[in-house]
């Protein structure tokens, strides 16, 4: 996949683990690299197991999410951060 070079974005999870996003394929992979416990099943947006609260910031979906997500939630298996983001896992 073609990924443009960009400034490293900061990802903060559960207000204690912060790291910079290094163009991983998606946020789920990036969080797993930090040993953050995230639920997952399908890893392609249709099961909804990785629903995570987006406290602040913006994300961009690289796969169209099919699972139900609330207005303040994101599916980390199919998105990347567009700005610095703050997340809260369930």
């Amino acid at each position: 996949m073609f990924v443009k070079d960009k400034q490293p974005t900061q990802v903060c999870v559960n207000s204690h683990t912060c790291f910079s996003f290094k163009n991983e394929e998606n946020l789920l992979i990036a969080m797993e690299k930090q040993n953050i416990d995230v639920h997952f099943h399908c890893r392609e947006g249709f099961c909804g197991a990785c629903r995570t609260k987006l406290v602040s910031g913006e994300i961009e979906y690289i796969i169209d999410p099919l699972a139900f997500i609330d207005d303040d939630e994101v599916l980390v298996c199919c998105c990347i951060p567009k700005s610095d983001v703050e997340l809260k896992t369930y």
Binding site: C47, D64, D70, Y90
Partner: protein, 376 residues
């Protein structure tokens, strides 16, 4: 209101709710009230598979090597799953299609049911290979007390909704005596029955398969019954997408994005919805105890299986706004995820690179960067 297979009055489906509006006439998808259902149809069809593609012949050798307790676990789970898919292969069609008013939802329900019939056929495929005469296994499903207990709770909400829909569509609203019982048929009452039925289906897709899945994958972890495990992985992937659809329906109602009356009912019957879910959890735990009555299997016991059911129930209840009533916050069976991840689902060796076969999918997007190396 009488059901018609082709409503001859013009209908603007953009103004209809998911259920209990005007019957669908033209199966058109150019305009959609809830486009998510067409997306689910596309995804589900891309997952198409046939049981015969999976070679289960090695499983017979493995099966003969299992202990009696393990044989009981294995065949009981297959029986239970056979029951679940027998119900799911017909009920969404019979219960929901006569009352659906959106073409995309109608087609989704038909697609969903069709996949459940693939699952049913796969159980026969597995059992034919394991037993010279699989009929004893199938015959036991309707007489086995443990399975019957669950069958009652699974089918009763469907049966109730179907019966009331029949009364409504033949006689309209009113109070009717049928076989000594009084039935109050009103749209409000029908909507309540629909809500409870959808919650029951949601709980079924959400947790009723998972005790069985865990046992199957625990066998696979020991490199046993791997043909069966491949099939169950495909089934698990399908069930996940079915669950997504019922979660969408319940959330569209609860958040007032469809029928405002259903939003009211969602609030009114929230406790009942919770009870349906928690009863299913309880029954799954009892099922785990029945499975392990003669002894457990390597890598799995009743306690850890019950924790897993609670863990998965927490997630699935939170997804429809019912909170997380159980203690289990972390996954007691982390290896399960390897079997539930879409990337690891594989049918034939030539498909190792792709998890679904979408035919004729060509990326037609061309950006300026694609021409970077060209020079004139």
């Amino acid at each position: 209101m009488k059901y018609t297979t082709f409503n001859q009055q013009p209908v603007d489906t953009m103004q209809e709710h998911m259920f209990f509006g005007k019957p669908v006439n033209v199966a058109r998808y150019d305009q959609q009230r809830h486009p998510i259902f067409e997306k689910l149809i596309e995804k589900q069809i891309s997952f198409f598979w046939r049981p015969e593609e999976v070679d289960v012949s090695k499983d017979r050798v493995d099966f003969l090597k299992l202990t009696d307790a393990e044989k009981h676990i294995f065949s009981s789970n297959l029986k239970y799953q056979t029951l679940l898919d027998s119900v799911q292969g017909r009920s969404p069609n019979i219960a929901f299609l006569p009352i659906i008013s959106l073409p995309e939802l109608e087609t989704w329900v038909e697609t969903w049911s069709f996949f459940e019939t693939i699952h049913s056929r796969s159980y026969t495929h597995i059992l034919r290979n394991l037993f010279n005469d699989p009929s004893a296994v199938f015959d036991d499903i309707v007489v086995n007390e443990e399975i019957k207990k669950r069958a009652t709770d699974i089918s009763k909400y469907y049966d109730d909704l179907i019966f009331y829909t029949q009364l409504y569509q033949t006689r309209g609203e009113g109070v009717y005596d049928v076989d000594g019982y009084t039935h109050e048929v009103s749209i409000r009452n029908l909507k309540k029955k629909l809500f409870l039925c959808m919650n029951s289906v949601n709980a079924l897709e959400a947790i009723r398969f998972y005790v069985s899945f865990a046992c199957t994958f625990a066998f696979a972890e020991r490199e046993l019954m791997e043909g069966n495990s491949k099939i169950i992985r495909l089934i698990a992937r399908d069930e996940n997408i079915h669950l997504t659809s019922t979660q969408h329906i319940l959330n569209l109602w609860a958040k007032g994005k469809d029928d405002p009356e259903m939003a009211e009912i969602s609030k009114e019957l929230e406790q009942e919805a919770k009870d349906i879910f928690m009863l299913a959890v309880q029954q799954e735990k009892e099922w785990a105890s029945y499975l392990f009555k003669d002894g457990s299997m390597l890598g799995l016991n009743e306690e850890i299986l019950c924790q897993y059911v609670e863990y998965i129930a927490n997630q699935r209840m939170a997804a429809i706004g019912l909170g997380q009533p159980y203690e289990s916050k972390s996954n007691p069976l982390p290896w399960m995820n390897n079997y539930l991840s879409s990337d690891n689902v594989q049918v034939a060796p030539q498909e190792t690179e792709i998890s679904s076969y979408l035919v004729g999918q060509i990326d037609s997007e061309v950006g300026s960067e694609d021409f970077e190396e060209f020079e004139l």
